[in-house]
């Protein structure tokens, strides 16, 4: 145990340092990218604020004056870094509300949806992957392969609409969109989870097949362990390493990359917010969101590292 804790503290220290570096780099890079975009930021922000019925050149000039967009870029960046050092992400340039409030709400919903999707995908991928691996290249394996390719190829947006049509409109089991309660989480989770499971069941299958073909598996069987015990004690533990790492990657993808699903289900997630912030040239919001996502990746990597160390004693050395 002490070895595990020592190694865990080393990991924490490395990742902590990484977090600080990521925060600074993400802040500077997102700032630079927003400045590199073509078009006048004052016009874009005014457009985001007032809508096309009210936005005009006078509104854009008012925004430029209010936000000090005329000041040199290094002054704007320095101000942001100064605020960041005080743990202040500033206010949304478009909506005027504190960035941290917006992120807190939207990140919560994004994490909820990501967790729902991963749980759904694991519920599908684990049993399917293990079952297919026990008889590689059998009928079940081939059918699952074909189905996986098909489901991975269907865009999440189309899958979402089909699921809504069947389970919300026709069967009325779940609501179409919104976020009033747990029932609202089911369809978006399945939409994302099915797409994820389409790949992860193959990862599980390959990991289990590799483990089943290993020498140590043969040894376990030869020393007299039953198939069930070999599977439970040795194969699954060894096979879970690539699966845990892969789920980590999927979570990262889920938190930032589900804009379309969030939009289809009117789900107030952070991906949706980031895209809107980029369109509206809401630099404070883009920096805040990118920073949060960057730190979240560091945290996710940390969790995956710790989990792998928990599973595999060799990693602790």
């Amino acid at each position: 145990m002490t070895i595990f804790f020592k190694s865990a503290i080393a990991v924490l220290a490395t990742r902590g340092l990484q977090a600080v570096i990521v925060a600074i780099i993400v802040g500077i890079v997102s700032f630079a990218m927003m400045h590199a975009l073509p078009g006048d930021a004052a016009y874009r922000i005014a457009a985001g604020r007032y809508g096309y019925d009210m936005m005009d050149a006078a509104a854009a000039e008012a925004v430029r004056l209010e936000l000090g967009l005329d000041s040199p870029w290094f002054v704007q960046l320095w101000n942001w870094l100064g605020q960041l050092a005080q743990f202040d992400l500033g206010n949304s340039l478009v909506y005027g509300t504190p960035v941290v409030d917006e992120i807190a709400t939207q990140l919560g919903y994004s994490l909820l949806l990501a967790a729902g999707a991963v749980v759904t995908s694991l519920m599908i991928a684990l049993p399917v992957g293990i079952a297919t691996a026990l008889n590689p290249n059998g009928l079940l394996d081939r059918v699952t392969m074909g189905l996986s390719v098909f489901l991975r190829a269907v865009p999440a947006f189309a899958l979402g609409i089909v699921l809504v049509f069947i389970f919300a409109v026709k069967l009325k089991w779940f609501p179409v969109a919104g976020f009033r309660g747990f029932e609202n989480l089911v369809l978006p989770s399945f939409t994302l989870g099915i797409g994820l499971a389409a790949v992860s069941n193959r990862v599980v299958r390959d990991a289990v097949v590799d483990a089943m073909n290993s020498d140590w598996q043969m040894f376990a069987r030869t020393k007299g362990l039953s198939m069930r015990l070999t599977l439970m004690r040795h194969v699954l533990r060894n096979a879970s390493l690539p699966v845990v790492t892969y789920v980590g990657v999927q979570l990262a993808y889920l938190i930032e990359g589900v804009v379309i699903v969030e939009t289809v289900f009117a789900w107030p997630g952070i991906g949706h917010a980031l895209v809107h912030a980029i369109f509206g040239r809401d630099i404070a919001m883009v920096q805040g969101t990118a920073l949060t996502l960057g730190l979240l990746y560091v945290a996710l990597n940390l969790c995956v590292d710790l989990a792998c160390r928990g599973i595999d004693p060799r990693e602790r050395a």
Binding site: G39, D40, Y43, R44, A46, A47, R49, Y50, G51, Y52, D53, M54, M55, D56, A57, A58, A59, A60, A62, V63, N91, S92, V94, Y95, G96, T97, E102, T105, I161, V164, F165, A168, V169, K172, P175, V176, A177, G178, F179, T263, V264, F265, A266, W267, P268, A273, H276, F279
Partner: protein
């Protein structure tokens, strides 16, 4: 044998009792595409006003006629420069604080300092005097009360602003108070029991912003949303066959229009703009893209804009041969590739538009195809809508396709003045000025004499139809689906209110 029978009877009785006891619904869910993420009336006023959370000093009915809101009456001095608004007494905000002239002046002054309609009015001072709101003008402006009905001039409570004066809560005087706000997707409302007027029949309501038209159509069909606004053509025609809901399309004073840079050498002759207009397949666009054939815009002001639309004006038509002849008159000759040239210059231009209204890029490509027939090489640029005012300001714009709402205020003079007054406007004329129109607009803005106004409007409409600084394409219909059991729903063509306080359920 008796046992199961008696059990069945008791279940049946229980079910029927349950049915009788089932209460009529008392809540409504509204779905619309517009996300709300701000507390600021200048930014989110349009939604706060529609949901009846905050109110204006002046209200308007669905025909655009003004009626008392938080002000009971108003009058103007003889010289037309000082307006006095007497305020309703006994009105309280949702937090229990009293609505008075101080709150009104604070809100209006803020609205005046922000970009918005009040900034466009010739105001020199907003003050409170003897419990009244006094607004002093630099020049007479008859449409001031109509401006005070606009969404950016709603009155929040003083407590709705933080210590720095930034809006930080949604507290108003309206028949509904906010119980939960999850930006940008949803607002939950409860009935304001202490409302100064008739309290709402519904106990609560939810506003859900669903960005995708497919989602909104599915929300309507499943019954998850009771009223759904802005359906796309496919969703609208599908929902017409769903038994539980009723669909309607209400003409609104919004028009898809083409802004033409009349200062550009290609377009500085009205004949060139007339040629562009003659080559717009309005009927085809209205039938195939926006799917309301009667909405082909044969003049700029839509029929929903009573007083400005004219049945007598000669309608704009489509005639490719006539368009070609006009361009030939101007010295354009078709080159080898069919594109016109003049003095060695090709008739190649760029049209700017934006995707926020999904029909605009479609209409733009229809124009691209059609104008090629008259020899114009049109490049379509789909970008952020701020590129249109930006292109107006730096002079780089050729033509732009956009949707303009002339019903922002019950009296459209503000928008029309801005678009076609001296110097033109970001969303109106460019490089075009007409003294007759400028004079007529000045008269319309300053007088309340109906005959003078009518004559002025006729002049403006007539010149715009001849000179075409802005070319109309199609008018808009506001598409809505409503649950058949929901009664008292009135669709406001001016889109100022969802009319929640008048709705009730029959089941």
């Amino acid at each position: 044998m008796l046992k199961p029978l008696s059990a069945a009877v008791s279940i049946a009785l229980a079910v029927s009792a349950g049915l009788a006891a089932a209460e009529t619904k008392s809540s409504v869910t509204i779905a619309s595409p517009w996300e709300v993420a701000s507390y600021d009336p200048a930014v989110a006023g349009y939604a706060i006003q529609k949901l009846q959370i905050m109110e204006n000093l002046v209200d308007a009915d669905v025909t655009g006629s003004l009626r008392p809101g938080l002000a009971t009456q108003w009058s103007v001095s003889d010289n037309g420069l000082v307006w006095e608004f007497a305020l309703r007494e006994g009105v309280r905000f949702h937090d229990g604080s009293v609505f008075d002239a101080t709150a009104a002046v604070f809100a209006l002054t803020r609205a005046w300092e922000q970009p918005g309609v009040l900034k466009k009015a010739p105001i020199s001072e907003i003050a409170a005097l003897n419990g009244k709101v006094i607004i002093t003008l630099e020049t007479p402006f008859a449409a001031l009360p109509a401006f005070l009905a606009h969404a950016t001039t709603i009155i929040p409570a003083t407590a709705a602003f933080d210590a720095e004066g930034k809006p930080s809560a949604l507290i108003g005087t309206g028949p509904f108070a906010v119980s939960a706000f999850t930006p940008p997707q949803s607002i939950s409302l409860v009935r304001n029991e202490a409302y100064w007027g008739e309290t709402a029949k519904l106990e609560s309501a939810t506003y859900l912003a669903a960005g995708r038209a497919e989602t909104r159509a599915l929300l309507a069909e499943s019954g998850d949303a009771d009223i759904v606004f802005t359906l796309d053509a496919a969703g609208y025609s599908h929902l017409q066959h769903v038994d539980t809901i009723e669909t309607s399309a209400v003409p609104i004073p919004r028009v898809v229009a083409l802004k033409v840079n009349a200062g550009h050498p290609f377009f500085n002759d009205p004949k060139a703009r007339q040629a562009l207009s003659l080559a717009i397949p309005r009927d085809g666009i209205a039938r195939a893209i926006t799917r309301f054939p009667e909405a082909a815009a044969n003049q700029l002001f839509p029929p929903a804009l009573s007083g400005w639309y004219s049945a007598e004006i000669e309608p704009l038509t489509t005639n490719i041969e006539a368009a070609k002849a006009l361009l030939a008159d101007l010295g354009w000759v078709a080159g080898d590739d069919g594109i016109l040239t003049r003095d060695g210059e090709r008739f190649a231009i760029t049209l700017r538009t934006f995707p926020d209204r999904p029909e605009l890029p479609l209409i733009a490509t229809a124009l691209q195809d059609q104008w090629r027939e008259i020899g114009i090489d049109l490049e379509v640029s789909v970008a952020n809508y701020s590129e249109i005012p930006a292109g107006h300001q730096d002079g780089s714009l050729h033509v732009a396709l956009y949707a303009r709402n002339y019903g922002l205020t019950p009296d459209p003079i503000g928008s029309v003045l801005q678009d076609f007054g001296q110097g033109g406007g970001d969303w109106g004329a460019m490089g075009w000025e007409n003294q007759k129109v400028a004079d007529a607009l000045r008269i319309i803005a300053s007088t309340s004499d109906l005959d003078q106004r009518e004559a002025g409007i006729a002049t403006v409409a007539d010149v715009l139809q001849q000179e075409l600084p802005v070319i109309p394409v199609v008018w808009y219909q506001h598409t809505v689906s409503v649950d058949k059991n929901l009664q008292g729903v009135v669709i406001d063509p001016l889109q100022r209110s969802y009319g929640l306080s008048d709705m009730y359920w029959t089941k």
